[in-house]
């Protein structure tokens, strides 16, 4: 569990001292009520207005000032043009490239799609498997979702499926307005997870009462949500789930919160059950799901790919047409099967997870902190992080709000979009010089 939240700072109150607004790009909540203090003397970036451990840790990986990271080709430091030329050559000789990670903003995702078109690439976000839980459930049966302001304004019952998401999203309950008096009283239920999952809520009691409970799973997570679905539809269920079903049916507006990254394999089945529960509830009262995930650019890449092409990620821009394969086009599986012969890994928000070591030609457009660990073969081009070294846009976890990101540091690094456009131009030139 993360440290318990400190003083209540409304997520949308302007930061004191006239600091320019900042949007934190490091988790899919994209909080924009905090600021970053850039210390010129010490070269550090410090979070102001929140104690969010995730943001603090992410900021600690940046320096206030020009980045010392340089592009590398096979371990040698080179200039950007040389690295781009080498990368274009690698793309030219690839018969089936894979664009993975996709840790970039909307502009980067737009540029990557054009390059994917030119190279016939498959695109898959980092932890694409988690992204597919929600997408596959959506493709099969749809969904009914809600957004942060709705939860803040009207949710009287919040049910976190699979335990507390607070460790990964420390600001979540404050963004939900828990403890505020917009809703007369809120009840929060954790289904599964640690027995003390609700302990941090104590720190949020404010103008309105907050009650909570932690329910043990009845069987595994699949069993539990299936049984809850039965209970909500009026069927028999274990006592705790029957009581939860009654709460859900009695609530004015209940929200089922689920986190893609914490679901087990085949998590789409859990999401489908949750959608079913919400569907039943909406016949008599109001309810919605609230998905958590799609951070580090994954949801943004997915949306951009979908609007440009018509299909989301895990799609190959094949010469014969677009092929969307939500199971087969999995980065780990494609690499293990040697189904691709080049990896273009994009990770501008974080050095974690590191690019997979594919044992095949690879190009990394990455967070400058990756430079140190990049001494072997392959091509590395350090890029600016949207929200730190460049402006940009990211989709928030609820998929509705496309948040603007600000530049807080002049690090001298190019954006993913800029590098990708240069790569595309270099590739086109190469093809003109060496016709197939």
């Amino acid at each position: 569990m993360s440290s318990s939240p400190v003083s209540l700072v409304s997520p949308v109150s302007p930061v004191s001292g006239g600091t320019a607004p900042w949007t934190c790009p490091f988790c899919p909540l994209l909080c924009d009520g905090f600021a970053v203090h850039a210390d010129a003397a010490r070269g550090t970036l410090t979070l102001v207005g929140s104690d969010c451990a995730r943001a603090q840790q992410a900021l600690a990986r940046f320096r206030n000032g020009r980045s010392a990271a340089r592009p590398r080709v096979d371990g040698r430091e080179v200039d950007l043009a040389t690295a781009v030329a080498a990368a274009a050559k690698a793309l030219q000789s690839s018969r089936q490239p894979l664009f993975a990670g996709l840790g970039t903003d909307a502009a980067g995702a737009r540029a990557l799609y054009r390059l994917a078109h030119d190279t016939g690439a498959i695109s898959d976000a980092a932890n694409g498997a988690a992204l597919m839980h929600g997408l596959r459930a959506l493709q099969d049966r749809g969904a009914f979702t809600t957004t942060l302001a709705e939860v803040r304004t009207r949710a009287d019952l919040i049910v976190c499926i699979g335990g507390s998401p607070l460790a990964r999203l420390p600001e979540l309950f404050r963004r939900f307005g828990v403890g505020e008096d917009l809703v007369a009283a809120r009840h929060i239920v954790f289904v599964g997870g640690a027995a003390d999952a609700d302990a941090p809520l104590a720190g949020l009691a404010g103008a309105a009462p907050v009650s909570s409970e932690v329910l043990a799973l009845e069987g595994d997570l699949f069993d539990t949500v299936a049984r809850l679905a039965v209970a909500v539809a009026g069927g028999p269920a274990p006592a705790a789930l029957a009581a939860l079903a009654q709460r859900l049916l009695a609530a004015h507006y209940s929200v089922l919160v689920w986190e893609a990254a914490s679901l087990p394999p085949h998590g789409a089945l859990v999401v489908e059950s949750l959608n079913r529960i919400v569907g039943t509830l909406n016949r008599s009262t109001r309810a919605a799901t609230f998905p958590l995930g799609g951070g580090d650019g994954a949801a943004t890449a997915n949306q951009v790919h979908a609007w440009l092409s018509g299909l989301p990620t895990r799609t190959r821009v094949a010469p014969g047409g677009l092929e969307h394969e939500p199971l087969r086009f999995d980065t780990a599986a494609l690499l293990a099967d040697r189904a691709v012969d080049l990896l273009l890994w994009v990770s501008s928000f974080s050095a974690v997870p590191p690019p997979p070591a594919p044992g095949l030609p690879h190009i990394v457009l990455g967070h400058p902190a990756l430079a140190a660990s990049f001494s072997g073969t392959g091509i590395f081009i350090p890029v600016a992080t949207p929200g730190i070294g460049s402006v940009g846009h990211l989709f928030r976890t609820d998929g509705v709000v496309l948040m603007p990101l600000h530049r807080v540091v002049e690090d001298g690094l190019p954006s993913v979009a800029e590098v990708t456009q240069q790569l595309q131009a270099a590739l086109q030139l190469l093809r003109l010089e060496t016709p197939a």
Binding site: S10, P11, V12, S13, P14, P21, T23, D32, G33, A106, A107, R110, Y113, R114, H117, L138, Q139, D140, R141, G142, A143, F144, T145, T146, T147, L148, A149, E150, R152, T153, R175, L182, H252, Y253, N282, T285, R286, A288, Q303, A306, W307, L308, S309, G310, L311, P312, P319, G320, G321, L322, E323, H324, H393, F395, G399, V400, V401, L402, M403, P404
Partner: protein
């Protein structure tokens, strides 16, 4: 404020390529240009620097022989769901729309086109290609959620070739309803409307199921025009009137765009007539009116109210409409009307749907649907749409739409045009439908066939006028050279499917159905004046109820430009409020 036509990166690129700087002369075409009262005159059209110019006889120009062709301004679709949250949700919901029986959809053999496909939920790139090759040069997204405005502009920016703009949705946001409920001063609401247009870079304002989307969040399942919202106790009548008045006072050229109460409900003509009455003479545009023109006569308690609707439109000169014609086959309905989409969700085909409550501001519902010829209801909907087209007297107040994709994909426009222009074809189609409709529809006895002139009004001249676009939708000297050249054909579907030439701002963008250039389209929006004192109220409200920092709400010109891929910014002039 950026004046229209200021050169941008797009212009400079185009100039470098040399295209629009060439002087062109379209020779010998039959001109159909209703804005300038020209109906079929044989005349040349000159094009220079992206504009239509008067060329002296013998003046040097590249001549293009368009004899045997009809020359019109580029088509303008003023109500088509082309970009933003619910459109992308529809794409995500329907991967099958992007496959051909499980196989990939074969890419068109044109190296200019990037891979992009789909019929009722096409990718943005495909939207641009398919519209342009059909002779359309502008399209307007009618349902932009304020909280989703950046996304909507990005998608529209990724629609190549076409100019675009959007109407922002108001009238279901809690702040508006609260201000209205409190009966506070109207100026405050007017300024809030003005600020919202400014912040989201909208071209107008749309109200969807006035008050009803919000009411559904409070578990209200129905909201008639004079029924109180369960929480705020305001009525749709008040919402409609207030918004229409606000836009009038702000001088926004496109009046309130209304998706009325009780969409799809038998007997909803009553709501529609009450909505018109609520306007009390204020101008407004009633959209996809076919879905709002149902009676409850007959054994099935579902009947055409097209005649009543047409009489009301004919009698109220303050009202314009677009039809929202349905076309048979698979599509998806994507709407902000959560209340009504929820009610129809059990009819989804395939059986899946998406709904969302959005930011105390709006909602959405995405329900796939297959319109069937042998369904009594669908057949009647089809007939009602056509009856409306043919019964309203003034074509300047009727716009041709299918409410893409809700009634059918925009690619069905040429078929729709043939239905309107060719009675025998229409009767043949009618005869194939559900027997009761085929036998009894009033459509059977309507002999009117629309003329090319009327089609040109409904597809370009009227939408341009209703949007306040002075230099679009016509072929007068000084107008933008957005031009479609159609080869004459008695089969109007063939004729309108594949124009010989399509020009966008003077650049040849499609030649006989093949895309030839990909200029970046511009963004139309309005910048009404309003009292900025409202921002203090909004800042406070958002801090207390919202989820986004007030300072992050408004989209600036530079950001809009980057969202829209560097396309030109095309602010439309507001009129002097009365």
């Amino acid at each position: 404020m950026i004046p229209p036509g200021r050169p941008t990166g797009d212009d400079r690129r185009a100039q470098r390529d040399g295209a629009p700087l060439t002087t062109l002369r379209l020779c010998g075409g039959r001109i159909v240009d209703p804005t300038n009262g020209v109906d079929g005159e044989l005349r040349d059209i000159g094009i220079r620097d992206g504009r239509i110019v008067a060329l002296a006889a013998g003046e040097a120009a590249q001549d293009i022989d368009v004899s045997g062709c009809v020359v019109m301004a580029g088509g303008i679709d003023m109500h088509t769901h082309i970009g933003g949250g619910k459109v992308n949700l529809a794409r995500l919901l329907l991967p099958e729309d992007h496959r051909a029986a499980g196989n990939p959809i074969v890419r068109p053999g044109n190296s200019l086109e990037l891979a992009s496909c789909g019929t009722c939920t096409p990718g943005t790139l495909a939207i641009g290609y398919r519209y342009a090759e059909m002779g359309y040069t502008s399209a307007f997204e009618p349902a932009m959620v304020a909280a989703n405005a950046r996304h909507a502009h990005m998608e529209m920016g990724d629609v190549p070739i076409l100019d675009h703009g959007a109407y922002v949705m108001l009238g279901n946001d809690e702040l508006f309803l609260q201000l209205l409920a409190e009966g506070g001063n109207f100026q405050q609401i007017r300024d809030y409307v003005g600020w919202t247009i400014h912040a989201t870079k909208a071209m107008g304002v749309k109200v969807v199921n006035p008050g009803g989307i919000s009411a559904f969040k409070f578990n209200q399942r129905k909201l008639d025009v004079d029924e109180g919202h369960v929480r705020w106790q305001v009525t749709p009548r008040q919402v409609v009137h207030t918004l229409a008045r606000a836009l009038r006072e702000l001088g926004v050229p496109h009046p309130l765009h209304i998706h009325g109460s009780n969409l799809g409900v038998a007997g909803n003509i009553e709501s529609t007539l009450q909505t018109i009455a609520a306007l009390e003479g204020l101008p407004a545009h009633l959209t996809h009116i076919q879905f709002h023109a149902y009676g409850r006569e007959g054994p099935k308690k579902f009947s055409s109210a097209a005649l009543q609707l047409a009489e009301a439109v004919n009698a109220n000169a303050n009202v314009s409409i677009d039809v929202g014609q349905i076309m048979f086959g698979q599509t998806v309905t994507a709407s902000g009307d959560t209340m009504r989409q929820f009610a129809n969700a059990d009819l989804a085909s395939p059986r899946k749907w998406i709904g969302a409550d959005i930011e105390c501001d709006a909602g959405c519902g995405v329900v796939p649907f297959r319109y069937r010829e042998q369904s009594f209801v669908n057949a009647l909907q089809w007939a009602i749409g056509l009856e409306i087209f043919l019964l309203v007297n003034d074509p300047w107040r009727v716009v041709l739409t299918t409410d893409h994709p809700n009634g059918g994909p925009f690619t069905s426009y040429p078929h729709l045009i043939r239905l309107l222009m060719d009675r025998s074809f229409r009767d043949e189609q009618l005869a194939r439908l559900h027997p009761e409709v085929a036998a009894n529809a009033a459509l059977k006895s309507i002999t009117r066939e629309l003329t090319l002139y009327e089609i040109a009004i409904m597809t370009r001249a009227a939408p341009a006028r209703l949007l306040g676009l002075a230099d679009r939708g016509h072929l007068g000297v000084g107008a933008a050279a957005d031009i479609a050249v159609y080869r004459e054909d008695t089969n109007r579907e063939t004729m309108f499917t594949t124009p010989e030439y399509v020009f966008k701002d003077g650049t040849l963008v499609a030649r006989a159905g093949r895309i030839t250039a990909l200029p970046v389209g511009g963004t139309h929006f309005v910048e009404p004046g309003y009292d900025t004192a409202i921002e203090k109220t909004l800042r406070k409200h958002m801090a207390a109820h919202g989820s986004v920092n007030f300072d992050h709400f408004a989209i600036g010109h530079d950001e809009l430009c980057s969202c829209c891929n560097g396309g030109r910014l095309l602010p439309a002039a507001c009129f002097e409020p009365a």
